[in-house]
């Protein structure tokens, strides 16, 4: 039950971010600088590739977003394990898991869209059902399902427990996606970085993308996790208020 501003102790209205701290402001600024740097290097400074030509510019955002999605889902898995382990059980882990999964879904969506545009340039089609693309799409849908499971009813503890189990199962898909290019030899190219296919300014632009997206990921997870903390607090207050109203009604009823 939502509670109104009058029912709870009102906080001061501020135009600044309600979830920000000096650390997140510095982090956010660094992420913005990183993204601007990425755009400048990716679109203007980095040269065209001999094989991929101008299409390589899409890889500077496609590869970092895919890697960050993996990282986000691994963080979700580790946080979920931390919640399930009795010694470290805390709803903070559950919120980090949820926030990281949500941000991971955003990055995975970016990876799918940019990969599709890159595919149109390189292969002539937006989509093909090869093993890398299919497993990536499956991973994306799995984590949308994870977020749906988080949205089911029940107490915070029930939400945390069932979503942690789903997260531990879902994270097993990541090796399947990553090694699909080696196991099934699909249309999708194999590792570009490890194989030394990118070098010089192209490799540097890719690293700029990875740094910028990593800063952005940390910043987004911190803010989302704090918003989740407030959502839970408001839920608890709503429940307390409903119980108090019920008790008051009960006392009035017994008084008559």
């Amino acid at each position: 039950m939502p509670i109104t501003a009058e029912q709870s102790a009102p906080a001061t209205k501020t135009r600044r971010s309600a979830t920000g701290t000096p650390f997140t402001r510095v982090l956010g600024l660094a992420a913005i600088v990183g993204v601007v740097w990425l755009v400048v290097f990716g679109l203007f400074i980095s040269p065209a590739d001999k094989v991929q030509r101008q299409g390589v510019r899409i890889l500077y955002i496609h590869v970092p977003s895919a890697w960050l999605a993996y990282l986000a889902f691994i963080v979700t898995g580790v946080s979920s394990a931390a919640y399930l382990w009795k010694r470290t059980r805390s709803l903070v882990w559950d919120r980090i898991a949820g926030a990281s999964a949500e941000v991971g879904v955003i990055f995975m969506g970016v990876a799918l869209v940019t990969g599709s545009l890159w595919g149109r340039i390189s292969w002539g089609v937006f989509w093909t059902w090869d093993s890398r693309l299919t497993t990536t799409a499956f991973l994306f849908v799995t984590y949308i399902g994870y977020l749906a499971v988080r949205g089911l009813g029940g107490s915070h503890e029930q939400r945390a427990r069932r979503s942690a189990v789903v997260a531990l199962l879902a994270v097993l898909e990541i090796p399947l996606v990553h090694f699909s290019v080696e196991w099934w030899r699909p249309l999708h190219q194999q590792e570009s970085v490890a194989d030394g296919k990118l070098s010089g300014l192209m490799l540097f632009s890719l690293f700029v993308g990875i740094i910028a997206f990593t800063l952005m990921y940390v910043w987004m997870v911190l803010h989302r996790q704090r918003v989740m903390t407030m959502e839970d607090a408001l839920d608890d207050k709503g429940l307390d208020l409903a119980l108090a109203e019920r008790r008051a009604e009960g006392q009035q009823g017994s008084g008559h």
Binding site: A18, Q54, R57, V110, V113, L117, W118, I121, M220
Partner: protein, 44 residues
């Protein structure tokens, strides 16, 4: 630049998507903060 439309679209969609998500998270945070006392925001 060959395929400029696809390349620029990929950057615009990426940055635009992230900006929309960040804006939604921050505005939800502001709305919630108006209904909660400061002790419910331990990071302050």
């Amino acid at each position: 630049m060959d395929h400029a439309g696809f390349i620029i679209a990929s950057y615009v969609l990426t940055i635009g998507g992230i900006v929309v998500y960040v804006w939604r998270v921050l505005s939800r945070g502001r709305r919630l903060a108006e209904q909660l006392p400061e002790e419910d925001r331990p990071w302050i």
